[in-house]
């Protein structure tokens, strides 16, 4: 195949037959030299080299006998004799012909080393060697041609041809070292894209063979086109080999590049088949135009022949596609190309389900999907893997991850099912610990503490000694801890600590044990535990929290320095802003309790400065204001508040601001009254000698004055309880100078304007500046101060969009009587947009109240129940329970109503007014059912047991009287009414008139 192409390229195809050639020898001998020369030239000119051979041979014989000058003519004769043999090879493919040709060309080279035919004869010799597949000898000749002195005699096309063929010779001989410089040269000098690709491919193979991978990689740009060079099997196999070597050296990125270049046998085959088709088309076209014997047609024919042979060979080749795809998938994985890796493995699973490594493909795709967060795929692949009982290699790992993703997708039932099945089928498996962890976390998330305790405590008993015991104990303890059953919880944590001190749960268990002890009020034990925790796990991320509890424990002793030290440590060891904030606030409280107001103020000031971005800034400012007040700087306190109002007032999410707005007027008037009272008292003493004398002598006069002026400060009045002090003042009042000066300063530091004036000015400015949130807040605050603005205004959705949680609740309440729908809108906005706000409970209650007023009892119950469930520990939650009772009463479900009231009565935290209310309402529910004796019992319990709560006890007297009347017991009714009417505490009761009328009627 190969030589045919090149021989045909050298000389045009001759169709002269060989018959009759022998007879020509005889004829040649008989010709004269002149005739002989003429005949030979004629035949050579007409390219009849075979026919010319006898004449040329005869010429050789005759010239050899001549003088040197005549012998020079032999050069051409030798050449054409050589050509003749090449042509004959073209016909019979006999290597003997090539050897004969070489003989004549060698003779020419030897006798005429710098002759006219030297270049072309060398090219021909090289071709002959190529025909004999003697690549090294061919290469030697091309190399000689490409060096001086012959190099300068080469034409441009001859040079390209020599370079190309030299490269091919080295390539075929796989002589990479010798070939490298020539491949490079060919690449540099060739202009044809296919030639460049061919040179680059050869050079790349040379580099790969010599492990010069980076040099090889640099050649990629030459090979990304559609050149034939890429579609050689040998080249692609070399690329795979290079990729393997690079991967072995952990150069995965480079290996990846090599693999990406590789074409599969199938791809090469398709390409070669298309090329064959294309070449045949070209050939047909050319034959129809330029004829079958044109040089291009011969070239095309040869290409068709070669390509066809390649196609046939490729069809017998074994495919390396699966192995290549595995390599590519693997290298994607190793080069962090998680997405490509996932798809590559996924396709491998589809295309090669029975591959020996199919399990690995599954696992890799599963892991890839995990890495890129394709949850659905993770679950699909995981379940598919699990479906094949024969597969076990990655089963445990997949179960754990699958469980995680079930959780992520909210498929709790699937998750728990899988987890339980796994644990119960192989409780000894090391992955059980992970499953227990996930299940524990899930139980906590679902707040199913009872379920967690039940399942895990069952496992503790059922599977003693298994590796997951530490987790089972820990999570059971956590279940009890969340249920606030500290006593039971602490035992499980102790078990973890004693039996599994090296467990990953040990650290957390120790901390939780401390919390349990804290909850059990076992302060000494808690302190020991937390101190042990801090010592043992000084770098723990729970250290900050532990420091906080230690602070609380020391504060309860109280050991103020230690407590403050622990509180100060909190921010060093945790980023949890909740704990940090609480540590500051608790430290401030402690300092306040110890009257260290300056330190308290500094502490809060530090918090404001350091945590302004994430902390509850407005609450901190509120506390700072209190500290200023305690420092005797009420002016500064109000100033701090006012600055906060100006700064955060228009931010609907600044929750603490509502408290500040509420406190500002209170603090203003409290302090103003305090300062005025003190100054009036002190100045009266200083300026009125008679008053001084009176109080010095008459202690009662002093107490009367103090009683009439309750705002006089303790620090001012206390010295006056000492008679000697009072007496001394009669003569010398200068001792009061400092105090007077202090109160005068305090007075001058107070704002000149009253809160009403200040807020009104600020309100007008806020309205003008479109600071609508602030305007709403100020309007609400002014209303609290009985300054009505925009009376009768119904707040709309637009107002709600600017409302803070507190103003939303306020707007909701105000809207109730005008438009319950809009009231609900305000409450709903709190529930939607301020889910973490402290006003959520108010919003839920507001919703319940509106629904109740609208007669939507089921909806009302929904909101009240929601309020109760979400805020079980809030004092106001009693209203939610009570309101449920009220709704049931309206629904005429008296028993259900009383059940709710009984829940109130059963809660000791709700003693007092709620109990009175619940008793009264229980009585009312009996009354409404006509069960008067029972009603009477409850009314009596109300006014006897809770007489101090005059609203409910008064109402109970009235209802009791009415009940007795209904029961036909008028005397008892009279007595009941009289008891009420004669009790001084009810003199101002709004029910007084009604009861009096009822009494008179009897």
């Amino acid at each position: 195949m190969f030589p045919r192409k090149y021989i045909l390229n050298l000389v045009l195809v001759l169709t002269l037959g060989l018959q009759g050639i022998a007879s020509l020898y005889g004829q040649a001998e008989s010709l004269t030299l002149s005739q002989l020369q003429t005949k030979a030239v004629e035949l050579v000119d007409s390219q009849n080299y075979l026919e010319a051979r006898p004449y040329l041979m005869e010429l050789v014989s005759r010239f050899e006998a001549e003088d040197a000058e005549t012998k020079k003519r032999l050069e051409a004769v030798y050449f054409y004799l050589g050509v003749g043999y090449l042509v004959e090879y073209g016909s019979n493919q006999s290597n003997t012909m090539l050897q004969e040709a070489i003989k004549w060309f060698d003779r020419l080279e030897k006798e005429f080393p710098n002759g006219n035919f030297t270049v072309i004869a060398n090219l021909a010799t090289a071709d002959a060697y190529r025909g004999l597949q003697q690549w090294t000898k061919a290469a030697d000749i091309y190399r000689k041609l490409l060096r001086p002195p012959l190099e300068v005699r080469l034409t441009g096309p001859q040079r390209v041809e020599a370079l190309k063929k030299l490269s091919q010779s080295y390539y075929i001989a796989k002589d990479w070292k010798s070939g490298e410089p020539w491949f490079k040269k060919f690449l540099e000098e060739s202009r044809d894209a296919d030639d460049q690709a061919s040179a680059a491919a050869a050079l790349m193979e040379a580099y790969i063979n010599q492990s010069k991978f980076q040099d090889a990689i640099d050649l990629f740009p030459f090979l990304v086109g559609e050149s034939p060079a890429r579609y050689k099997l040998q080249f692609n196999v070399a690329l795979i080999d290079a990729g393997d070597k690079l991967a072995k050296e952990k150069n995965y990125n480079e290996a990846m590049l090599m693999y990406r270049m590789v074409l599969t046998v199938e791809e090469i085959l398709v390409w070669q088949e298309n090329r064959l088709k294309d070449l045949n088309n070209q050939l047909a076209l050319l034959k129809s135009t330029a004829g079958a014997t044109s040089e291009r047609a011969v070239e095309l024919e040869t290409e068709v022949f070669n390509t066809d042979a390649q196609v046939k060979a490729l069809k017998t080749m074994k495919s390396y596609t699966p192995e290549l795809r595995v390599r590519i998938a693997r290298n994607y994985l190793l080069t962090s190309r998680d997405w490509e890796s996932f798809w590559a493995y996924l396709e491998l699973i589809k295309d090669y389900p029975d591959h020996a490594n199919a399990q690995d493909f599954f696992y890799a795709a599963f892991t890839g999907a995990t890495n890129i967060g394709m949850t659905d795929e993770v679950i699909r692949l995981g379940e598919a893997y699990m479906d094949d009982p024969a597969w076990s290699k990655y089963r445990d790992d997949i179960i754990v991850k699958l469980a995680q993703f079930y959780l992520e997708k909210g498929r709790a039932q699937d998750f728990f099912g899988l987890g339980k099945k796994f644990i119960e089928s192989s409780p000894d498996n090391r992955y059980c610990s992970q499953i227990v962890f996930l299940m524990g976390s899930a139980f906590v998330k679902e707040q199913d503490f009872a379920g967690m305790i039940s399942l895990f405590s069952g496992y503790i008993k059922k599977y003693p000694g298994v590796i997951m015991q530490d987790g089972l104990n820990y999570w059971t303890g956590m279940g009890y801890l969340f249920d606030q059953d500290y006593e039971k919880a602490v035992g499980y944590f102790e078990t973890v600590l004693k039996k599994y001190p090296g467990s990953a749960y040990a650290e957390d268990s120790l901390y939780r044990e401390g919390i349990c002890e804290f909850g059990l009020q076992e302060m000494e034990a808690a302190r020991d535990t937390f101190e042990t925790f801090v010592r043992r796990y000084s770098d723990s991320n729970l250290r900050g929290e532990a420091e906080y509890f230690l602070g609380d424990l020391e504060a309860s002793v109280p050991d103020v320095p230690k407590a403050l030290k622990h509180y100060a440590n909190v921010e060093k060891y945790t980023d949890n802003i909740g704990f940090i904030q609480n540590s500051y606030f608790r430290a401030a409280e402690l300092l306040e309790a110890n009257k260290r107001y300056d330190e308290m103020a500094n502490m809060l000031e530090r918090f404001v400065n350091n945590y302004r971005a994430e902390g509850d800034l407005t609450t901190a400012i509120y506390q700072l204001g209190r500290a200023r007040e305690l420092q005797g700087r009420p002016g500064d306190a109000l100033n701090e508040y006012w600055q906060a109002i100006e700064r955060f007032g228009d931010n609907p999410n600044a929750n603490g601001l509502d408290l500040i707005l509420e406190e500002y007027p209170i603090k203003y008037y409290t302090n103003r009254n305090m300062i005025d009272a003190n100054l009036n008292f002190l100045e009266k003493i200083q300026s009125e000698g008679a008053f001084r004398k009176q109080i010095a002598e008459d202690r009662r006069a002093l107490f009367d004055y103090i009683a009439e002026n309750p705002n006089i400060s303790e620090e001012v009045k206390r010295p006056f309880y000492d008679r000697a002090y009072r007496v001394a003042l009669v003569e010398d009042v200068s001792v009061l100078d400092d105090q007077v000066a202090k109160f005068r300063t305090m007075k001058s530091d107070l704002p000149d304007l009253t809160p009403e004036e200040t807020f009104k000015i600020a309100y007008d400015e806020a309205v003008a500046e479109y600071e609508k949130t602030l305007a709403l807040r100020l309007q609400m605050a002014l209303e609290e101060m009985n300054v009505e603005l925009n009376a009768g205004h119904v707040f709309t959705e637009e107002d709600f969009s600017y409302g803070s949680p507190s103003t939303l609740i306020w707007m909701g309440h105000k809207n109730r009587e005008f438009d319950p729908g809009l009231a609900k809108g305000a409450y709903q906005k709190v529930l939607n947009d301020h889910t973490e706000s402290e006003f959520v409970l108010d919003a839920l209650m507001g919703m319940g109240d509106v629904e109740q007023s609208l007669g939507n009892y089921d909806d009302a119950l929904f909101f009240y129940r929601d309020a109760e469930e979400r805020f079980p520990a809030e004092p106001n939650t009693v209203k939610a329970v009570m309101s449920q009772g009220d709704v049931y009463r309206k629904m005429q479900r008296a028993a259900d109503a009383r059940e709710q009231y009984e829940r109130v009565l059963a809660n000791r935290d709700w003693r007092g007014s709620p109990h009175a209310e619940a008793l009264f309402k229980s009585g009312m529910s009996f009354y409404e059912q006509g069960e008067f004796p029972m009603a009477q019992t409850y009314f009596e319990r109300t006014y006897i047991g809770h007489g101090a709560f005059i609203d409910w006890s008064g109402a109970a007297y009235l209802q009791s009287g009415k009940t007795l009347e209904r029961m036909g017991r008028p005397d008892e009714a009279k007595n009941t009414y009289d008891e009420f009417l004669n009790s001084p505490q009810f003199e101002n009761s709004p029910l007084y008139q009604e009861i009096n009328t009822a009494r008179k009627a009897l």
Partner: protein, 371 residues
């Protein structure tokens, strides 16, 4: 419709520019040259000179410059004309074999241009086709005659001639593309017959691709739409996707989706699979759906041959997606790959820009083998 208008305008402009100003109108110059023929219709053997065609009749003269004319209807039964090629023409034709095409063209013009008016007469009735074919061959292989060649092929009734003429015309188109004369190439392409020319479609597709790569999206789209009309060919199938691609580039996402849908279910491993993924990924990126785009692009990358036309873009886009997904180190590797494989492409340049803008590389983590 807008595409068509632009392309048509382009053609008019290109013709007036190339032909009207720079070239010599050889058709005009040799229009009146009489063509020596022997009329062998019905067994006759008369030497005449063909001087033109008028309302379905071929007009002959007895002498080249004489006044006496006879008309022979084109649909005459057994019409048979034999062209008596002038010696000058025959000599010039021989030069073609020597490869001196410019000399051959120069010598053949006078003889060939008058023949071009009669190329619609079937070859078996008037033997001028081989002469014109030789000239066409020489013309496309000569140097510096591109404008003349464009005009020459546009004048020929290519749909009625042997495919070899279209093949030469396509060769000319390719040369023009190589010389960045896209507008001239477009003007000629508009004349090329698409149906029944099996080997021509890939070359037209090649040209459309070249236009696209140079950013001439509207023109490329026009060509793809033409190719797509030749149903049941691989080129039409490929064009379908490129039409979708061009529509994305022109921000016509709904049209793009329509063509993508019409492209059917292309299986992994099939040629258009990764291109389709690229187009879908591009749409999703424009819609800011990065994760979904990444899924499409990465899926396509796995099946992209580095030698494919869209390999630079899909690889670059994969890098871009990784960058958007906060994986700068992976993005860096991929941009580096684009730069390595395709340094001279738009995508190579874009990769360089992206690489320069990326933050410094994180400390390398040792890669670990999967268990």
């Amino acid at each position: 419709m807008r595409n068509l208008f632009i392309v048509c305008t382009l053609i008019v402009v290109s013709l007036s520019t190339v032909w009207g100003q720079e070239g010599t109108d050889f058709f005009k110059q040799y229009a009146n040259e009489p063509v020596p023929v022997t009329n062998r219709t019905g067994g006759a053997d008369t030497n005449l000179y063909l001087v033109g065609e008028d309302r379905g009749d071929l007009i002959f003269r007895y002498k080249p410059r004489g006044n006496r004319e006879i008309g022979v209807p084109l649909d005459t039964d057994g019409l048979l004309l034999f062209y008596r090629a002038p010696k000058q023409l025959l000599e010039a034709m021989q030069v073609i074999d020597l490869g001196d095409f410019n000399v051959a063209v120069q010598g053949m013009r006078k003889g060939i241009y008058p023949l071009t008016a009669y190329m619609e007469i079937p070859e078996d009735r008037f033997n001028i086709h081989p002469y014109v074919e030789r000239f066409a061959y020489a013309l496309v292989n000569s140097e510096g005659n591109e404008d003349e060649a464009v005009a020459f092929f546009r004048r020929l009734p290519l749909t009625k001639l042997s495919p070899v003429f279209s093949s030469y015309a396509m060769q000319l188109v390719e040369d023009l593309v190589e010389q960045k004369k896209n507008r001239e190439a477009m003007s000629l392409l508009d004349k090329l017959p698409l149906k029944g020319e099996g080997s021509l479609l890939p070359r037209i597709l090649f040209f459309a691709n070249a236009l696209r790569k140079e950013g001439n999206i509207e023109e490329a789209l026009f060509l793809y739409q033409r190719i797509q009309q030749v149903k049941d060919t691989p080129e039409a199938e490929k064009s379908q996707l490129w039409i979708a691609y061009c529509n994305v580039e022109l921000n016509r996402l709904e049209s793009a989706r329509l063509f993508l849908d019409q492209s059917g279910d292309i299986k992994p491993g099939e040629v258009g699979y990764s291109l389709k993924r690229l187009i879908q990924g591009k749409i999703l990126l424009l819609e800011k759906q990065t994760m979904k785009a990444m899924a499409e692009i990465s899926r396509g990358v796995v099946y992209t041959d580095v030698g494919s036309d869209w390999a630079p873009e899909i690889t670059y886009t994969a890098g871009y997606c990784y960058e958007l997904l906060q994986k700068p180190d992976t993005a860096r590797e991929i941009y580096g790959e684009v730069l390595l494989f395709y340094p001279k492409t738009t995508w190579g340049e874009k990769s360089k820009t992206q690489l320069d803008a990326l933050p410094p590389k994180a400390d390398p983590k040792p890669a670990t083998e999967p268990s």
